[in-house]
């Protein structure tokens, strides 16, 4: 997305004064600064750019206390999973661990959101700037907000930006992200989850598609056979983006950088690494994520000695759902089709151990069906 021009980023629509809920608040009540000073240089002394981060309790929270209450547990603020996952992979030695921690905080914590970065401004990742002249947006706009951050994977999938792959069927039904991801999920619920997929207020395909199991449904039999064994995405998602080998560091001028060696479009079925009562499927789509043994090596040698504790092919729910997909065209497009499954040969040698529970043993690949 094109960044806004510098003056557009800070242009306030005079209509803001007419917002009966927020327009009566003085700018300085949220941002600080001196509204009586006509000299912009001195008037901005002490101004806070984002008064809703890290703590919105004295700004938005004075009126939206119910929403601000759980704010800290929203992943958009806590970034809890990335922290917990890196911690699990990190070397237990205190000195090494703290270096990994510092590098992660410096590089990964920059991508967070806030009340303001969903409802008022574009996120920093696209250089910020007001969404619509400071008018508060009830529904954060999909492309200026959500996919500005969730761009290289979900955004590309959902909007149909992967060559040869159509957009998500729900995009074509005019769904925006918030049709499935509701305010309760976005605002956090006070629980400190370890994984994105543990979040309880998140959407489920079956919230809206229970009728696929109705006797009169066209594909009821097919859906029943695979119920709780094979995830919806295994049959309904198209190939999606995968990334490898992210390394972070600082250049000669001291500016932070990251390098992601490769990304590739692929589709792989693996063994569910997060199998639970609520997520009982044995077979799910898996995506390669960019973490690597050497991700933080610029800062600390052998920082991630427990790298193999977690896989690099992870449970995925790609956002390019289609009714018809290459793998669900016929039963045997999938049954007996080794290419679709994550086998030992698909995994780089240095990542074999980490993925041992995700790799599909050949004897578990469903057999070719004779009646197809």
């Amino acid at each position: 997305m094109e960044p806004l021009a510098p003056h557009e980023k800070i242009f306030v629509d005079s209509e803001f004064a007419e917002d009966e809920n927020h327009g009566a608040l003085g700018c300085h009540e949220c941002h600080g600064g001196n509204p009586k000073d006509p000299n912009w240089k001195t008037a901005h002394k002490g101004v806070i750019k984002d008064p809703s981060y890290p703590d919105p309790s004295s700004t938005c929270g004075t009126c939206h206390d119910d929403i601000a209450e759980n704010y800290e547990t929203s992943f958009h603020v806590s970034l809890a999973p990335s922290k917990k996952m890196i911690n699990m992979r990190a070397d237990p030695d205190k000195a090494v661990h703290s270096k990994v921690d510092a590098a992660r905080e410096s590089h990964c914590n920059a991508c967070h959101s806030s009340c303001g970065q969903c409802h008022i401004s574009r996120p920093e990742s696209v250089e910020g700037g007001l969404l619509d002249g400071h008018l508060f947006q009830k529904r954060p706009p999909m492309q200026e907000v959500c996919t500005a951050c969730h761009g290289s994977r979900i955004g590309k999938e959902y909007l149909g930006e992967i060559e040869g792959v159509p957009p998500d069927i729900h995009k074509q039904k005019y769904f925006k992200c918030d049709k499935c991801h509701k305010a309760d999920e976005m605002h956090g619920d006070g629980k400190d989850y370890a994984n994105r997929y543990d979040v309880e207020n998140g959407p489920k395909c079956l919230d809206c598609h229970k009728d696929i199991y109705d006797a009169k449904s066209e594909n009821a039999k097919n859906h029943w056979i695979h119920k709780d064994q094979v995830s919806c995405h295994v049959c309904h998602s198209m190939p999606y983006n995968n990334c490898t080998s992210c390394h972070v560091g600082k250049d000669k001028q001291g500016l932070k950088f990251y390098k992601i060696k490769g990304s590739f479009i692929d589709f792989k079925i693996g063994i569910n690494p997060l199998r639970t009562e609520k997520r009982p499927e044995r077979f799910v789509t898996v995506r390669h994520i960019p973490v690597d043994q050497g991700t933080f090596k610029f800062y600390v040698k052998n920082g991630l000695t427990n790298f193999d504790k977690l896989p690099t092919w992870k449970l995925a729910t790609p956002h390019n759902v289609r009714r018809k997909t290459p793998q669900n065209k016929t039963c045997n497009a999938c049954h007996g089709n080794e290419d679709l499954f994550l086998l030992k040969k698909d995994v780089k040698r240095e990542y074999l151990k980490a993925n041992k529970d995700v790799i599909v043993p050949p004897n578990l690949i469903p057999e070719k069906r004779r009646d197809d």
């Binding site: 003056h7 800070i10 306030v12 629509d13 004064a17 003085g26 912009w40 761009g151 500016l255 992601i260």
Partner: protein, 97 residues
Amino acid sequence: MSRQGVMQAAGNALAFAVQDQRRIKMKPIIKYGASIVLTLAVFLLVLPARHAAWSAQEENHCFTCHTNARKLIQITREIAKARGDKPGASAETEGEG
């Protein structure tokens, strides 16, 4: 104090005043004078709230400047010039984040 806070304080003051007038027997002139003082006090308390309510439109240099595109263009150019062409992000970044 927040706007609601000020309103509440004003309300409280008024409630107290009424109670006081009922309880204490006062000479009419004092009573009259007191009520003027009280009315004034209440006004003074409510005034900041009114001011806050309108500050987005009036006597607020933040608002007048940030709603003036021409002025913002001029200032952002000034800032850009002062900053020079210092890079904001490393040129070594590669690949999709």
